[in-house]
Symmetry: C2
Subunit: 227 residues, 2 copies
DNA sequence: TGCCCTGTTTGATTTCGATCAACTCCAAAA
DNA sequence: TTTTGGAGTTGATCGAAATCAAACAGGGCA
């Protein structure tokens, strides 16, 4: 793992456009950015482990991060995949300062790190910062609840269909996009074994979905909606 | 549904001890309490429905509330059960003002209602209020993530065992407690059909758990931990 | 060009929990 | 006391996805 002390210009741009900081007036955002450190990780690097003391929370600058629970018997369950502009582990600011989950890079990743103590201090001085943090927490909370509901209500092909639809532009009748990460990562995100994801894609052929490597083509978006 | 305009003394006590308000200095908490309204609901009353405009979020004073997603084909998936002192739907302060889920009372319930606009205003003036809200969001986020992980890693009997353990005092070798709500509600909370919960309880007999109505007795807490 | 290595797919089997149906239990009402 | 209805249990069956195993594809590299 290599740490970079200063943000470069491009990274600063990404960060200012992230869900968290974009909520803030630019002067405030810049003040926070001044205290950010950058960490660059290799693929498959651990970022933190459950049980560890939590000194930072993070916004992804480039690449994808996998957050998961490790069970006693060594199995892993993903609870979230985070990409550029997304913030994760902000929860540690309020849960006793210990990570409850593990995080690992899926590929080469650069992260912006916020010091928990520093941000607490900022938040106690400027209400806007607290509000931006709340917006981020709230976003992640909604996603988590959505995930529980999706897991409990839908079959594997339906969940895959949902995921595909989230990546289609509204009001398009057909669409095509490229998966931003490995299929095995998507499988984990959807709570599936890789084999089940593969079979789900096959099942969606009948709904006009074709897959070539990471390219996904949707013939009839509306047909997919009521799969 | 009957609305009560003023909190009585006992309700005020409960509210001040809730997870949300107990984070605040008492002067601040009292100021917020002044703006709270109380709603009392019959059993099975809808509190709000997904898609509705969200004017309030809530803290439970007495009783239990079920929050769930309603699917297109009419099935329901619980995403949380909230009891006295717990706050739900705070997410609506930041997600566009629309409820993403349904909420319904499980029994007769009294709720404290916070007006979203009012609370936003308070939070923008006093950083401590934002921080208390964040603590509440963070608590609910952790619970949701925990739930995803639990669903994905554990079988029905294991999830039931986890639930039971959460209701046992630490360091006790044996324990006994009373379910605070119907078994069918617990089943939903754990993402199970009622039949599956029943069978899970039977499976736990071999681990020293016996169930009589709502009374649950655990012979050997440690045995249950590595079930 | 051929050979790994890794990620993905396909096939066969098993397991878990949903579903449907019948039955028990109990408490409240008549 | 009997009746009735809801909650919970038990049994039988079915289906979805995990698991295990093997084949397959494609990119990087010798």
């Amino acid at each position: 793992m290599i740490k970079v002390l200063k943000l470069n210009v491009r990274e600063k741009e990404i960060l200012l456009r992230s869900y968290f900081l974009s909520e803030l007036p630019s002067a405030t955002a810049l003040k926070i950015v001044d205290h950010v450190t950058v960490a660059s990780h290799e693929a498959r690097d651990p970022i933190f482990k459950q049980g560890e003391k939590a000194d930072y929370f993070y916004t992804v600058l480039t690449g994808f991060v996998r957050v998961f629970r490790l069970s006693k018997d060594g199995r892993e369950a993903d609870i979230g995949i985070y990409g550029p502009g997304e913030t994760f582990a902000e929860g540690v600011m309020f849960n006793g300062g210990t990570h409850r989950f593990c995080a690992q890079t899926a590929e080469a990743v650069t992260l912006a790190r916020y010091e928990v103590d520093k941000l607490k201090q900022f938040a106690s001085q400027d209400p806007a910062i607290g509000i931006a943090l709340m917006a981020s927490l709230s976003r992640n909370l909604d996603q988590a609840l959505e995930c529980v509901a999706d897991d409990r209500l839908h079959t594997a092909p339906q969940r895959v269909a949902n995921f595909i639809l989230q990546n289609c532009p509204e009001n398009a009748s057909s669409a095509r996009f490229r998966l931003p990460f490995q299929k095995s990562l998507l499988a984990g995100k959807l709570g599936l074994a890789p084999e089940a994801l593969s079979r789900a894609f096959s099942a969606l052929k009948s709904a006009g979905v074709s897959v070539h490597g990471r390219i996904i083509e949707i013939g009839d978006v509306n047909a997919l909606r009521n799969f």
